[in-house]
């Protein structure tokens, strides 16, 4: 027996060189970070992805068109007023330059207007409605960005400080929020707009005043929960400063709350801006906001319906897209809520 053992060829054995056997239970897939995992879930949500694409397109078109000179044309041209939409090469009623007048469709592009193409029509002063709508969309999107900014700065900071400090600071800060909550936001905004000179900066200040409150409340509630957890205690006992704890330990854990809530602040900010412009105390003429355009369109809705449809549809699409994306993000960040 012993002899036979010696006869085994040397190459029957393979040396285990690298120690890879030690973790043969290793999971092959790369570990996903929280954000990447959420992104993977969001990608599965078709409605949310479509909304995201629509929003990106709107952003690109609205801001890209600012670079095209003809798209900045807000000059009036009384000869070309109240022309219906006309898009070259499309012959669908409503987009071929015809208009229902006295019960029958007639071509409105006659005389001086024959060679013009207003894709979305022109308004009562002969201004290109497409250019005006794009301008209004730009304002709405700027408002969206601004509201996000204040949400992320004032709202988050207020919430973290209030929750982290606790005690008297918290009580005072919460009382302030309660008082602000007891007046409808829109009333606060209107009061502020009365004091400030009308214009986009005034609207931005008014939105800054009111948009952060919800965020502050949610962040505070979450901070109260987080601050009693072990990892925060550990950081504290290791002597981390409060600021560092806030940035390194609290903020990453607040990400989902913050992102989700931002997505719901945006549509309400856009709505408020459009609303204020609609009642005539928002963006002053000749600048156009979607609200101003809808308000102008309303006056001639019976005879020139396109003048209201265009801005109304754009505004609604914007709001719907932000809301669906917000829903999608909430489901992606908090999968429990869907199951």
């Amino acid at each position: 027996m012993a002899d036979k053992q010696q006869e085994l060829p040397k190459d029957a054995f393979e040396p285990l060189s690298d120690g890879s056997h030690l973790d043969n239970e290793k999971i092959a897939a790369p570990s996903l970070t929280f954000l990447r995992d959420s992104w993977r879930r969001l990608k599965k949500n078709k409605a949310a992805m479509i909304s995201l694409i629509i929003l990106i397109l709107l952003f690109v078109v609205a801001f890209g068109s600012a670079l095209i000179p003809s798209m900045n044309n807000v000059s009036t041209n009384p000869n070309l007023n109240n022309l219906p939409p006309r898009i070259p090469g499309i012959d669908i009623p409503g987009f071929n330059g015809t208009l229902v007048q006295g019960g029958q469709r007639v071509n409105a592009y006659t005389g001086a207007a024959a060679n013009h193409y207003f894709w979305f029509g022109s308004d009562y002063l002969g201004r290109d409605l497409l250019a005006r709508t794009l301008y209004g969309t730009r304002i709405s999107l700027i408002i969206a960005v601004v509201a996000t900014f204040f949400d992320l700065t004032i709202g988050v900071a207020y919430g973290i400080i209030s929750g982290w400090k606790g005690g008297k600071v918290d009580t005072v800060m919460q009382r302030i929020i309660e008082i602000m909550l007891s007046i409808p936001n829109l009333v606060v905004m209107i009061l502020l707009l009365l004091i400030l000179h009308p214009g986009i900066p005034a609207i931005i200040i008014a939105i800054a005043f009111t948009s952060w409150i919800n965020m502050a409340r949610l962040v505070r509630a979450q901070t109260l929960e987080l601050k009693n957890q072990e990892f925060v205690l550990a950081a504290r006992s290791l002597g981390e400063s409060s600021v560092k704890i806030a940035f390194k330990h609290l903020l990453p854990n607040l990400t989902s709350v913050i992102i989700i809530n931002t997505m719901f602040t945006i549509p309400s900010a856009i709505f408020f801006e459009a609303f204020l412009s609609f009642i005539g105390i928002g963006v002053p003429a000749p600048a156009a906001s979607l609200g101003t355009l809808i308000s102008n369109g309303q006056k001639s809705f019976q005879f020139l319906p396109y003048q209201m449809w265009v801005p109304a549809v754009v505004l609604s699409v914007l709001m719907i897209a932000f809301n669906i994306l917000g829903d999608g993000l909430r489901d992606a960040f908090d999968p429990k809520s869907r199951e």
Binding site: I183, P184, N185, I190, A274, A312, L315, M319
Partner: protein, 309 residues
Amino acid sequence: MVRYLAKRIFYLILTLFIVTTVTFFLMKIMPGTPLTNEAKLSPSERNMVLQQYGLNKPVWQQYISYIANAVHGNFGTSFQFSDQQVSYLISSRVGPSLLLGLQAIIVGVLAGIVVGSLGAIKKGTWVDTTTTIVSILGISIPSFVLSILLQYFVALKWGWLPIAGWSGFAYTILPTLALAAMPFAESARFVRTEMVDVLSADYIELARAKGLSKFGIIYHHALRNSLIPLVTIVGPLAVNIMTGSLVVENIFAIPGIGEQFVNSVVTNDYPTIMGLTIMYCFMLCVVLLITDIIYGLIDPRIRITGKRG
């Protein structure tokens, strides 16, 4: 309970006081006076007008007299309508607004409950999808766009209902629908989420195991438990309706406080703006107080203590 109520009412008064103070001083720093356009007035005439309205006194005296008057329900005289008391202006107009607001919240929330629970029961089917789409539309489409569309199609084109005005029930339908869209959509979403949660609870399983009818389970067990938290969103819904009423009342020409507020803003009628701001604040505070009390009453798990929760 009594202590809690007393505390809440104390805070309500404090809030109103602070809001009154802030709006008063905001109005004082506002550019322009009611006499801006009266350049022809001689200095003595100007002084007479200022004296009549008490505008020649130092600001702090004006403030004290304003607060003293406000406590008695007197908010001064409107700049827009001569010799019209703001308190009269408000009290004569608050009726239509309250009626519309109540109708809207009742219609909206009831429809929302039905649609939301349908969505939850038929989760994952086309019913659920439709429900979700409808509620997203309700939340997204601005109230003023919806009002214009309703007015154009239902009233003008099809002629089913009056276009605008205020003389009878038929006149309230369209504005109510326009205002109800948001509460409807919000409560449908809310009820759906709650109901989905509740339907997977153990006591529903037990009810099913006992052999109760499907309707019985939904009505007696699922619905009741999913509706309790709904009370918490009534406050935000009231804010929505107040916001919406500002413009919906304008579009439908309803003599309510929303329409008055917008008109006063456009005409710089400061006393009326102040009075209405305080009025809005008061109504919202009362709604919040009532919902908190109701919530405490219907859910025995929530004990009202002296602490605010």
